[in-house]
Symmetry: C2
Subunit: 158 residues, 2 copies
DNA sequence: GTGTCTGCAAAGTCTTTGCACCATA
DNA sequence: TATGGTGCAAAGACTTTGCAGACAC
């Protein structure tokens, strides 16, 4: 759980509305899953979410978690990542509650660090690259992922 | 298969040497798998490689393909990617035969386009980001991945 | 009330592991 | 000949699918 629920609460309240706009029903399992995503700063796997939801709602199944995650991903409300450890991970999409950021991934312990620095420098490069690539390859670019791989300090000194 | 086998041939000859230096044995299946990787410009899955090798060497099993790919990845001779389609893909590591590049990935048809443009602009940004991130997060950065996601021209107009 | 959602179990994919036999150095 | 490598079959891990019952609207 995390402090400062104000902004997240606002965000979560927004989710239900968008859900209904899309013709989906707001159910107890879906609400629970969205709460877990909204309350976490981590990169959760389906099982992480399942286990957390399970504490409050033991009846909710892993299948429903997968199905809800797919729905939210398709709606663009969350983003699915693969950091190379064999399971998909999910986090809130960029928005009022989530700054544009990228990831440092430790190859040894698989720890993931989010960073939001250097976004200005990045923008400069990305804007030029996206424009040029769109034209040259007739590609309609919708998004990008930047991952840095390496060894974190905890792993380096042990 | 591809034209201009000269450079690739040189590269492949190099593989065996490095293999032996590391104490590994050069075997028929390993040679066949490395040939397929060296002859292809695509992002091959384990099964792609298995099927190609299988045409010439029907006895080579998928297990050996996986084991060889893991070996080559650990040695840094090939790179393992995940483009989000549920299977790992492999390509030659950057080197005399492979320019530094990144990927455009079509979200609809999963086509992957390699590009080598904008590397100078990228370097500028990367150098600054890597330096800053290394210091701030005490992270020893070894590499990076940049993926652009979008819709390719073939998918857009159909 | 009706069409969507759900949990369970089973199936599906990709990948890894165990083990006896084989081949390289 | 002594390891290390291989194929096969089986197991493992994550994810998806089928279906009857449950629930939101």
């Amino acid at each position: 759980m995390q402090r400062g629920g104000g902004r997240r609460g606002m965000l979560r309240r927004g989710w239900g509305g968008k859900f209904k706009e899309c013709g989906y029903r707001m159910t107890v399992p879906r609400k629970a899953i969205m709460d877990v995503l909204g309350d976490s700063d981590k990169h959760l796997s389906a099982e992480d979410i399942y286990l957390t939801v399970h504490r409050s709602y033991p009846n909710v199944g892993l299948t429903t978690v997968y199905r809800t995650l797919e729905l939210l991903t398709d709606m663009g409300m969350i983003v699915k990542f693969d950091f190379g450890d064999g399971r998909a991970r999910y986090e809130l999409a960029e928005g009022p509650d989530k700054k544009h950021h990228h990831h440092l991934i430790c190859r040894r312990c698989k720890r993931i660090i989010e960073y939001t620095e250097f976004i200005d420098e990045e923008m400069d490069f990305l804007n030029r690259a996206e424009k040029g690539l769109s034209e040259k390859y007739k590609f309609d670019i919708k998004g990008h992922v930047i991952h840095f791989y390496g060894i974190c300090d905890k792993c380096r000194y042990k």
